[in-house]
């Protein structure tokens, strides 16, 4: 038997023994006054995040001379070892711009994010660009236990935007937030 063939056979034998030992980890009981058996249990939990607690935003009868602000506390949960995540926002305007519209009429708004709840200002988001390095304090995926909210979403309309809007006209739009684990 040449050396290469010997090595191949040896490798196959070792591999076979390893595979066998992994498959036979469970121990069976023997006949006796008591009998004891055991098994191993394994599970893998992948990286996951969840955003919840979001509410619609409405600015009704807004005075154009006063900037509009809506801040809400939301729940972001991350199960990574650091509880880290990033958030990406996109609007419903042209090229996912943060704009509200009524037919051909449009007006912009801004979006800010804070990784703690109860904030009325935060880091400005650019559409389609992830804000990285955020951390969650959530201990439950829906914040049903532990902190009831972990982050702040702030939507603002400047007086300049408001003053471009046509009176007695309703502008609508959609803001989409995507959270990803880090």
């Amino acid at each position: 038997m040449d050396i290469a063939r010997y090595l191949r056979l040896s490798a196959l034998c070792v591999a076979g023994l390893l595979a066998s030992s992994a498959a036979e980890a469970a121990t069976q009981g023997s006949l006796g006054a008591t009998s004891t058996g055991s098994i191993s249990i394994g599970a893998s939990v992948p990286n996951r995040v969840q955003i919840s607690g979001l509410s619609d935003v409405s600015f009704a009868n807004q005075d154009p001379a006063t900037a509009a602000l809506s801040a809400q506390n939301i729940c972001v949960w991350s199960n990574t070892s650091t509880k880290g995540y990033n958030v990406t926002a996109s609007g419903s305007g042209t090229a996912n711009a943060f704009t509200l519209a009524n037919g051909a009429l449009t007006t912009p708004y801004t979006v800010e994010w804070a990784q703690t709840s109860g904030q009325s200002s935060g880091t400005a988001l650019a559409t389609g660009t992830a804000l990285t390095g955020q951390k969650s304090t959530a201990t439950n995926a829906l914040c049903a236990s532990g902190p009831s909210s972990t982050a702040s979403l702030i939507v603002k309309m400047s007086t300049a935007s408001l003053q471009t809007m046509q009176a007695a006209t309703t502008y609508t739009g959609t803001l989409t937030l995507v959270v990803a684990p880090e």
């Binding site: 004891t36 055991s38 098994i39 394994g42 939990v45 992948p46 199960n79």
Partner: protein
């Protein structure tokens, strides 16, 4: 049971060998006959026949490791069940089962480094079940009965009980990402 023993003793005493047997037999024969007759009468009255006593021994086999793999949906319970063989050589084929985990105090817990995740253990005295009675670590679940007729179920029913391991969604959604491992020890006792 007393009647059976008397019967056996009488037979043994009647199986001696040698010349002394005849004389001895002549002297003890009437007594033996009376003893034998009495023993048979008692057996008949009790409605019992001589049989082997139960050994009160038990055995658990056919256990398999449990692998959940990567759990994609953390919002639903992950369940793995298996049918196992429990044999109980007792008068009633009765047994109890005790589960012991690898967590503190025998808790049913998996670990991934410093992180841990609890799991539930359910037991049914019938095979092929996906649910059963929840076990408490270190506490015997009593009153189980086996249908096994062979200590490894190599004949008769191939399996006699169900072991169900459950990862609850509340534990999954609270666990840090990672690979979790643990052991579960099952101790069977006769009843």
């Amino acid at each position: 049971m007393l009647a059976v023993k008397a019967f056996a003793t009488a037979v043994l005493k009647d199986s001696g060998i040698g010349s002394r047997r005849s004389a001895l037999s002549r002297r003890v024969a009437p007594g033996l006959a009376r003893l034998l007759a009495g023993a048979l009468l008692v057996v008949g009255l009790l409605g019992e026949t001589p049989s082997n006593a139960a050994s009160n021994k038990v055995r658990i086999t056919n256990l398999s490791d449990v692998g959940f793999g990567t759990i994609a949906n953390l919002n639903v319970d992950a369940v793995q069940s298996q049918s196992v063989c429990v044999y109980a050589d007792t008068n009633t084929s009765g047994y109890n089962v005790t589960g012991i985990g690898a967590g503190p105090g025998g808790a049913f817990q998996l670990s991934s480094g410093a992180a841990s995740m609890s799991f539930d253990v359910l037991w049914s005295s019938s095979p092929g079940q996906n649910s059963g009675t929840q076990l408490t670590p270190n506490v015997p679940l009593t009153g189980q009965v086996s249908s096994g007729t062979h200590q490894t179920c190599s004949n008769g029913p191939a399996t006699t009980a169900s072991l169900v391991v459950v990862l609850r969604s509340i534990a999954l959604s609270s666990a840090a990402a990672g690979t979790y491992n643990g052991t579960l020890t099952l101790v069977i006792g006769p009843e």
